[in-house]
């Protein structure tokens, strides 16, 4: 008998990641196009309807649209996928495979975050060629998008695990996505007492960091950076706990 046990962390990550990307073979249109079309369309619509808005508003729209793209993939689509896995009991198969469930939720969030990258790239092009904004690129940006994907993806996973079925997971995911759409594109000063709600959204800290990296808007990077990391860590911890929970 050959030794049977458990793969190394690297192999486990690669195999699990491949399993997620294999979904694109059949479902690349909803995953890639839907998460790109709506946010890019909003930027396009605002360009045609209100082209002369101030620069800071354009920056708000661009960063908000990028986060919207990320939230469609990681919150709406991932929550529906998780709810489907739960309904069909395929999630039970994952639970019995020799994989770390912490790694499973990390891989799911990372993969679904990556599905939104074509949309984010499209919005970057719009900001450069339509709005003529100079977008600064930094390696920090990649780290930030991965962390944002983890934070939002963990929220999507939690919604999928707690929702009674796939339809309701989609509904809850869409409601949260709408909150991100409305609240993150508005200037903080206009929210009044609702500003506190922003702290519950997985997009708030990444939004500030994005503006800082891409448009050099002055912020406290350590504060918002710590917020982004903390959100992702807590979200992943909670989603791993829920995935592990037996019947």
């Amino acid at each position: 008998m050959n030794s049977s046990g458990r793969a190394s962390w690297g192999t486990m990550f690669r195999v699990l990641m491949r399993m997620q990307f294999a979904r694109l073979r059949r479902n690349w249109r909803p995953y890639v196009i839907v998460s790109a079309v709506m946010p890019a369309g909003i930027v396009l619509l605002l360009y045609f309807t209100n082209h002369h808005m101030p620069r800071f508003q354009k920056e708000d729209i661009i960063t908000g649209a990028m986060l919207l793209s990320e939230s469609i993939a990681t919150i709406v689509m991932l929550s529906q996928y998780i709810a489907w896995l739960k309904e069909t009991r395929a999630l039970d198969h994952y639970r019995t495979l020799p994989v770390s469930l912490e790694m499973l939720v990390t891989v799911l969030a990372t993969a679904y975050g990556l599905f939104a990258w074509p949309g984010i790239a499209l919005i970057t092009l719009e900001s450069r060629y339509l709005e003529h904004l100079s977008v600064h690129f930094s390696l920090w940006l990649i780290a930030l998008w991965v962390l944002t994907g983890l934070g939002m993806g963990s929220v999507g996973t939690i919604i999928g695990l707690l929702a009674p079925d796939e339809g309701l997971a989609g509904l809850f995911g869409n409601l949260l996505m709408m909150a991100i759409l409305f609240l993150d594109m508005l200037p903080l000063s206009s929210l009044g007492p609702w500003t506190a709600v922003l702290w519950l959204l997985p997009s708030t800290a990444p939004l500030h960091l994005l503006k800082s990296i891409m448009f050099h808007v002055p912020i406290h990077p350590l504060l918002w950076g710590a917020g982004t990391i903390l959100y992702a860590a807590c979200g992943l911890g909670l989603s791993a706990y829920l995935v592990k929970k037996p019947a």
Binding site: S4, V15, M19, R25, R89, L97
Partner: protein
């Protein structure tokens, strides 16, 4: 001395007010293929789910070589491979990728996993489907892939829930052969099946569950011996309403459960009664065209025991 001992101690699981299984005490040793038989809702699948940590026991515990198995324990997943009845999480992969991915996750090297994948695909006739997505396969093919993921890198404990469901006779034959080949002095194979007749060929030990409790535990021969005084009779009655009515009435009088198909009737009854009936009928020329007498199979024994338990259960309920 067995290298592995799996113990279930006073294991119970309750869903709301309903006990799925209750006070299950079992000791399983490596080198055996153990079959859990029983009607739907007997608690068989719940027992497997408790074993692999998908379901938390209400009472009692399971140990593997003295180590308590708990939900979410990482070491359990490297020791126990589980084939569920529901779809696999590998639906987006091709058949070849799905089998190899499982081998890789079970700690095999890429080269070994690839070679084993080819071997298993050939044995299960999955090679022509190697590039098909698992989610696009038929129910039976999907089941075969599930079996392949178990066989490609077998663990010390293998738990199979209805391994031959949805399979055609040829596929079932291949799967039972595969299960038999998995048998190893250092492995425990536990399987739940409705297919008593086919399972009989590979089982070393049979557990019968009924209403959440283990009602029989022993070898297939021991189970068969429980109905040792019985014979399985198949007779073809000569055409004619009177003849058919006579046989039918006599069987009803003796309260045997008989299965009729056109002129042919099949029933199981105690040896002495069978001889009485047959000698009576055979004395009447032209009444019976053909007679076949068989020793009861494991399935007959199982059905007979089940019938008794159901009757006792109804009596117990009436008494209450």
């Amino acid at each position: 001395m067995p290298s592995l001992v799996l113990e279930f101690e006073h294991l119970s699981k309750r869903y709301g007010g309903l006990w799925a299984n209750r006070d299950v005490d079992l000791t399983l040793e490596s080198g055996n293929i153990v079959g859990i038989l029983g009607p739907n809702g007997a608690g068989k699948t719940t027992l497997l789910r408790q074993l692999v940590g998908l379901s938390r026991s209400t009472q009692g515990h399971i140990t593997l070589n003295g180590r308590v198995i708990g939900p979410g324990h990482a070491w359990v997943k490297s020791q126990i491979a589980y084939l569920p009845q529901h779809p696999l999480a590998l639906g987006d992969l091709t058949v070849e990728e799905a089998i190899r991915a499982t081998a890789l996750l079970r700690g095999q090297s890429w080269a070994f996993a690839s070679a084993r994948t080819q071997d298993v695909m050939e044995r299960l006739d999955l090679t022509p489907l190697r590039n098909q997505l698992v989610s696009r396969l038929s129910g039976g093919e999907h089941r075969l892939v599930g079996i392949a993921t178990i066989v490609v890198a077998p663990t010390p404990v293998v738990a199979l829930d209805e391994p031959t469901n949805e399979l055609d006779p040829l596929m079932r034959h291949q799967v039972w052969n595969m299960i038999e080949r998995l048998k190893d002095p250092s492995r425990i194979i536990l399987l739940v099946s409705h297919n008593v007749l086919e399972a009989e060929k590979v089982l070393d030990r049979v557990l019968i569950m009924h209403h959440g409790r283990i009602r029989h535990d022993g070898s297939p021969n021991e189970l068969r011996r429980k109905t040792d005084d019985a014979l399985k009779i198949t007779i073809k009655v000569a055409l004619g309403h009177e003849r058919l009515s006579r046989i039918h009435n006599e069987l009803v009088q003796e309260t045997f459960q008989a299965t009729w198909q056109d002129q042919t009737v099949q029933f199981t009854c105690p040896r002495i009664l069978a001889l009485n009936l047959l000698s009576r009928w055979l004395r009447d020329p032209g009444l019976i065209e053909q007679v076949a007498i068989k020793e009861p199979s494991l399935e007959d024994a199982y059905l007979s025991l089940r019938q008794n338990w159901n009757q006792n259960h109804s009596i117990e309920e009436e008494d209450l």
